[in-house]
Symmetry: C2
Subunit: 436 residues, 2 copies
Amino acid sequence: MKEIRLGLLGFGTIGTGVVKLVTQNASLLEDKLGARLIMKRVADLDITTDRGVALAPGVLTSNAHELLDDPEIDIVIELIGGYEPAKSFVLRAIENGKHIVTANKALLAVHGGEIYAAAARKGVEVLYEAAVGGGIPVLSAIKGNMAANNFTTVLGILNGTCNYILTKMTQEGADFGAVLKKAQELGYAEADPTFDIEGIDTAHKLCILLSLCFGTSIDFKDIHTEGICSISAIDINFAREFGYKIKLLAIGKRDGERIEARVHPTMIPVNYPLADVDGAFNAIRLTGDFVGPVMLYGRGAGMEPTASAVVGDVVEISRNILAGIGRRTAPLGYLDGRIRTLAIKPIGEIVSKYYLRFSVMDKPGVLAKIAGELGRYSISIESMIQTARSAQESVPIVIMTHEAREMDVRQALTAIDSFDFIREKSNLIRIEDNLE
Amino acid sequence: MKEIRLGLLGFGTIGTGVVKLVTQNASLLEDKLGARLIMKRVADLDITTDRGVALAPGVLTSNAHELLDDPEIDIVIELIGGYEPAKSFVLRAIENGKHIVTANKALLAVHGGEIYAAAARKGVEVLYEAAVGGGIPVLSAIKGNMAANNFTTVLGILNGTCNYILTKMTQEGADFGAVLKKAQELGYAEADPTFDIEGIDTAHKLCILLSLCFGTSIDFKDIHTEGICSISAIDINFAREFGYKIKLLAIGKRDGERIEARVHPTMIPVNYPLADVDGAFNAIRLTGDFVGPVMLYGRGAGMEPTASAVVGDVVEISRNILAGIGRRTAPLGYLDGRIRTLAIKPIGEIVSKYYLRFSVMDKPGVLAKIAGELGRYSISIESMIQTARSAQESVPIVIMTHEAREMDVRQALTAIDSFDFIREKSNLIRIEDNLE
């Protein structure tokens, strides 16, 4: 029986899942490919720890070049993560004519262009389904059966750690710090959770989604990124009162020759399917000009779901190899040379509805002053909550606005925050509630 | 620039959408293919009606053979629907070495095996994403990136007409007949809605999903199929009281070397994402051994979403043609000759929880007699609602059971329905609430 020879870079959790899947479902894969997937080499600095999966003797090595330079290996699976040495290894493998499967969103978000160009020169495939949404087959859907659509909007809940934290805060009314600590104890959050809770991981994934949906190269630094640290239980409770849930949303929108690309906590109506995406689950909601809105939902991380996406990519490339062709589709689904560069709209120019929370000293005329400033910047109020009077400490005033320009909202908040009756910096959360 | 020549059979709503899409998004498709999709021939018996889309002169013909036998045509798109002449046309096109794209679920559910065998002999592709879930890219996901999974369960809301009717009944408390009439006036239901409301259309789609998920040939007649006509407002209201919604669900489960394959109204918990799939939307929830649960959601019908799926298939086949290969993947994703034949478990052998509604004359001892019969067939009661006494007419008794064998439940109902205090045939609705 024909063989497809794999080289695996990085024998951590996901790598272990890949070995487990290729072993456990070998006969299924043979039924579908008519070929055997052989794990020829696995490279990792740690060659002693027992991962609980069987590797043939001599397969595991601490020298990545034994794999990158092995002429018998057809497909290199990169699961090291991070920028280096992952980037050098991937470029070297491409140089040696190997197809690439990777789950490395950071690498592709920042160095995708260079890697795709190298792959184009050598005529090899670069697939990376596992880089976004874990096991959810969203990237292959965009490049595949939905390819005939001009996409207008993509929204994503893409980080399981943030979604777990926000879900717990919503369910238990707990505050951010407490839930984060719990999440770290349970292993749902890293010891250093910065990449997750600051929204950087989500922005990496949005960058990849945007390049696929809009056929554009993106400068990762231009994506406006806010994390969830500023979300408090009080905001979540007010959101509930107004019929919303707060999610860390990746938002991409096409606006003529420009796009919106932003990651921030967002209020969405409780009756949206996206609002039901809780805990460690991820979801991506795309809108195409013909298909309309489509949502894909599943486990956004974890050894087995991610391995499913990685091996799924291996299956696709294997089908090409077995059909006797090298590259069938360019990494972004667009031909090399057909990638645009759409400018990202500055955050100040976006138009959105806003949730505004002011912490004020409770005295007469305060609301009038706030409303006056909002009016001066042509921000109109949709609804408002002012809680009961209390002589001592500050009280919250919450205002939901109609659509307004972010620049105007920020200027109004700056003006309002300079009033003497303002007790702490005012809080802003954007709202998405006018989806098709 | 290279050209891929298409032949379209059936110039109805979907066919019009396909022509519209290929025209409107031509430059996008060129950016992705580096080739032009040419609608070379469109065959329909009606060559006079203006569909509002432009066709080059001489393209439209009433003679399908001008298309089937045109050696220049690469891909034949079959949108006639039904068994004949669709089947003869598809087989003729395959015989002539053309790749097939079809949206015809009835044809594939009943004659799929014969068509796939013919395609295997000629080495051509048969793609049919539009046959299930309209624009939702579920079939390509099963064959593509999720291919490495052994699937255990597939659940689907697959018929927009039924889902629209059940949604309206749920929202407005209206009865089936009234909502169906409204749906027909609004064009959401056919003048003869039998195929939809009897569950036959859903069973056709389940048949296709099962063959892809489990790599098995299915005898369509063996799928247990119930429609929604027996659902009344009273059942929907009781469902709500217990925290459930009623959906027409297509259910497929792997159980060793047998599968469950059934279509019937089903109660699902209101907090399941599937419960939020309302109106004309469809959703498919798959569970794979590695990916876990994945749900895909979108528009299940309509000109534009369905055209998106059809042209998506055309894009996939075009990529093969442009790469210089004929067939890349077999129609079911499994190699020819690797298709099993898993037996379908008789409905009497399935195990489920049940909602049972009895219409009884209100007199002492009734509940004891019903509970006694259920106990005799080892059916244990999870919860129960008995409404207030009323001397005159019959009153409902509603019982939610723990897991029980369908055969036992039916025998118990037959025994209970023979009691003199039973006013009308007792009603049974199955419950799905133990999903991973």
